[in-house]
Subunit: 617 residues, 2 copies
């Protein structure tokens, strides 16, 4: 931004060239929000979610460390920055990502949310009906239907509202409806007041997006912990809880997630200043277990061979059937899955990434307790899920923790000095998934971890930070946080499982690593991982780092697409039909591949990667 | 029945020629029921409902007085008798009306319940599905849908049941479904265990009919008081209660009728030995206010000009939306009405009577607090409702009461002696609607009531039973029960309103009394009235008594038709479209007609009626 003396400057919002007044020194995210621009920021300005990105056309500030964490060099060169990391220091012109939901598509991959079109399948119309009289004794409902010009299904609660709505408002009312049913009646004209939410139920995080269904504009974004974390960190532990406690256990799990969703929705509605009962559509993605638990449908069979879900397809229901705080008759739909472990979250990500629509060979990867992998080869697709274990969630790691204040989330070495970035900026008290990956990748890079995964002392000055011997060895990341030999072993199991899954998929498709054009990293967690680190530990096969694209919360983005446009739903079904599901636990070669993939890349392989990056880049 | 010595004889049930053992001297109704034959008898053998009729092919007993009350001479000649009025005195062969629901159609009117056909729109199928395995990871729901061969809508409670039903029963299950949705899942084979109920919600009486939806057989019949009677005897007083108490008032009225229906259904299910949760369809008729109250939809606008209901059309919902004891997802439907005062009960009666399908000119009449009148003239139909007031319910009559034990229900004079039949056969403590009609008709017949309605002493010996003078005069019917001058005035208002309604209808259709081919009396109450008495008081226009047909509970019979055959529903819609509703309160000539119709027929007119009866008869 061009520096300027004095208190106030203007920032121009592109492409509409709207000018907004801001104060010099004001945080850019705060300034945009104060001007009622909708910038997603699940971490609320903490610099840890990477979602508040904007693109500077003029006046781009010097990139911050945090920018580099979430944006690759081409994006940074193109003017992308995280708005929460920068203070206003002069005039500037920017594009807001939130207006369209677009990532920078010029770079490498055609991923688009069409900004203008909206056809959510829920709409509101204002009517002035004529009142009854001696020559018009039509029943209230018939009067309404003839006014509408169609005979929509009328649920009982709507029928009950009808006589008072008509008479209290002089027969002028707003009808909220879908193609075949009336969802609500409101007195007078409220035809502009209908909203929708897209929800991603992650095992760890609930993410929500609030939309104005009339204009198609995103109004608010929020993320929160999944309250089921108090029961267990992963799907299996939650299923076990339900099995042990019987019906009450699953009811409790449902009640927890509903409580979390209601709080999330109330927060978004409060921010925008609307009532939650103005929300008439909700589109939900999540892994199959999460969606079963939301519906209180027993997911036990997912946990045992042959891993069968009760529900694979999308499911539509009324909000009141779950006890959501939105309009009681709101149309709630969960999106379809591929199998018991490749869920609606992945299918939504495939949709968002337009997977299978390009002639290139692409790998879509969602990394978490389970690593879901989709390989697209000229229109054919293969999907699998591999149990990576809880290392990335921090559960089996000595000082592992979620990505909360005090977690080391990035580790780099410069001039033989180790540098750890901590969420919140204060003292480190643990390490989260992305920090773990960085720590292991960095130590492997300087040779303090060998290809077998053993911590070993070398000539490197940082060898001094290794304490203990053998299985008791550990590396001090900071005064209080260390990485143990056992942590590294846990990490190897996780990354090895995912890499082995990738290898099985390549084999099944009859291609090799060299055939891969792009690797797309989906999911909020996966997108927080540094591609360089993923390559260095061998979680990803060797590929030029510039060919790795982080999609952000691709599941949530896909849910938003379906929320905004009901015509997209058939595309989901098509994606599922075009995808061959591979059950890794039934594949004999998986175990041997897994054993191999536990190892780290050799020094030569790592060097080659770096060379390749430079040459192609 | 042919007399025979000894304890046991056989009765042959036609047409199947099944022989049942009975004891000589046993009550015929009791004997049939003991042999698990389903004979309707809402009055439970008291001889007051006329529904337990059977037709003797051989061995018909001498007709009893009670037979003549409910059956006309042609029916009696044809072998029809009320089974509760006769003891077994020998072998006999009989047809049961309950098997088909048929009245004797040979006589005069083509009224039929097709016995064999049944297509209720709810059916149950047994399936054996293959269990999942390594080569078949289909989701439970997909497995079910592919087994069914169709993608039916699956409500959430069904989805929740699915995994345990499948696994607890080795993947063999019964699916209860409609054309487009699954209503229930049952373990193993229960495909024969689905039932339905037809319900008539009268202002005074709830009547229910339980059917086996597989075979189409009627299994049980029951009637009970409408518990809303504790709030008020007629629709207006109940609406006023709701208006005064607000939402809670209508909720209370709903809860009362639901309580009554649940008790009725439990009684029928208990009798047949099934669970109420095996009932998957319920068809409900009633006047518009009764149906609004059932649904807890505010009927206030029905009570005030221009008398507009909220709902005129049929309405479908799930049993759980009301809190009925039947299967939670059972398909409940209320039938459509014509207007705020010509309800589904009348439309069901029109259906049962096949009104508008014949080339004759017919009048259908339902007599109660409101008298609903439908006139069919060569395919065109006219309908109206007239407020008769509460006289027939006994509410405004000095010693008026419902048709319960102790009520005088029939009054005749023979050899200058008055004879009163009392329900229960013991001492009289009041007079019910049919008794009131008979008393007035009889006294008018012997001239103790003049054409203006005044009680007057004549030469007739029964003049001695008149006490008091002028407006204080009264006639002693028995030691404790009398008919007052004021009672006669109340009766005149009631009968005058109905007759005036008939006159308006005839005028509107451009015909005269002489053009009427038949008068059909619908409704359980109306059917308990003696046609001769209706003519003598001038409630009906002068017509040969043989042309008056009592249909019994025509509303309940119509509801049964729709319960058994969903293809009939469009016919209801057609009936409504073919019917022109006439709002009597908007017809100027109604008041002058009403004033005229308050008078009774002259002696000459009464004599002419009797002559006509003899000549044509």
């Amino acid at each position: 931004m061009n520096k300027k003396e004095g208190g106030k400057v203007k920032i121009t919002i592109l492409p509409e060239r709207r000018e907004i007044p801001v104060s010099l020194g004001e945080n850019l995210l705060d300034a945009l929000r104060r001007n009622k621009l909708n910038i997603p920021s699940p971490c609320n300005g903490a610099g840890t979610c990477g979602q508040c990105r904007v693109r500077f056309e003029q006046g781009a500030p010097t990139p911050a460390d945090g920018d580099r964490r979430f944006l690759n060099s081409q994006e940074i060169e193109g003017g992308w920055r995280l708005s929460c990391l920068h203070k206003v220091d002069g005039e500037a012109a920017i594009y807001l990502v939130s207006q369209t939901g677009d990532l920078d598509t010029k770079a490498q991959v055609d991923i688009s949310l069409k900004g203008g079109e909206i056809d959510p399948g829920v709409n509101a119309h204002f009517f002035q009906l004529s009142p009854p009289g001696r020559n018009d004794q039509r029943a209230d409902l018939l009067r309404l239907q003839e006014g509408l010009g169609q005979e929509l299904r009328v649920p009982l609660p709507v029928l009950r509202k009808l006589p008072s709505i008509l008479r209290d408002s002089g027969f002028s009312l707003t009808v909220v409806k879908t193609e075949d049913a009336i969802l609500d009646l409101l007195p007078n004209d409220h035809s502009k007041d209908i909203y929708g939410v897209a929800i991603d139920i992650g095992t760890t995080t609930l993410a929500g997006y609030l939309f104005d269904l009339g204009s198609g504009k995103q109004m608010a974004v929020h993320a929160d912990r999944n309250p089921q974390l108090t029961i267990g960190g992963d799907v299996i532990s939650r299923i076990q809880y339900g099995q042990e406690k019987g019906k009450e256990g699953f009811a409790k799990l449902q009640s927890l997630v509903l409580h979390g969703l209601n709080a999330l929705i109330e927060k978004m509605a409060g921010e925008v200043g609307i009532g939650t009962s103005s929300i008439y559509k909700m589109t939900v993605v999540g892994n199959p277990t999460m969606l079963h638990l939301l519906l209180n449908v027993d997911p036990t069979a997912i946990a045992n061979s042959p891993y069968v879900p009760v529900l694979r397809d999308g499911f539509a229901l009324k909000a009141s059937e779950l006890g959501l705080v939105i309009a009681p008759l709101a149309w709630v739909e969960t999106l379809p899955a591929i199998s018991g472990y490749v869920g609606a979250d992945i299918v939504a990500g495939m949709l968002y990434a337009n997977l299978g629509e390009r002639e290139t060979i692409e790998l879509l990867l969602d990394i978490g307790t389970n690593g879901e992998i989709v390989l697209a080869v000229e229109g054919r697709m293969f999907a699998c899920s591999t149990a990576a274990g809880p290392a990335f969630e921090g559960a089996s790691i000595a000082q592992g923790m979620s990505a909360l204040d005090g977690a080391i989330h990035r580790v780099t070495i410069e001039d033989d000095k180790i540098s750890c970035l901590v969420i919140g900026g204060k003292g480190a008290r643990g390490i989260c998934g992305s920090g773990l990956l960085d720590a292991v990748a960095t130590l492997r890079g300087i040779g303090l971890i060998d290809i077998s995964g053993r911590l070993c002392r070398t000539e490197h000055p940082l060898s001094l930070r290794i304490e203990g011997e053998g299985t008791e060895a550990r590396f001090l990341l900071s005064d209080r946080v260390y990485l143990t030999q056992k942590d590294i072993r846990e990490f190897q199991l996780a990354k090895g499982a995912i890499r082995a899954g990738i290898e099985v998929m390549l084999e099944r498709a009859g291609i090799t690593v060299d055939d891969i054009d792009r690797i797309l990293i989906g999911g909020a967690f996966g997108s927080s991982l540094r591609p360089e680190s993923l390559l260095r530990v061998g979680l990803l096969p060797p590929i030029n780092v510039e060919r790795i694209i982080s999609l952000g919360n691709s599941a949530g983005q896909g849910a938003k697409l379906v929320l905004r446009d009901r015509k997209i739903a058939p595309r989901l079904q098509q994606l599922i039909e075009e995808t061959e599901y591979i059950e890794l636990s039934f594949i004999k070669s998986f175990s041997s591949k897994f054993m191999k993939c536990i190892q780290f890349p050799t020094d030569e392989q790592i060097l080659a990667l770096q060379q390749q990056g430079k040459e192609e880049g």
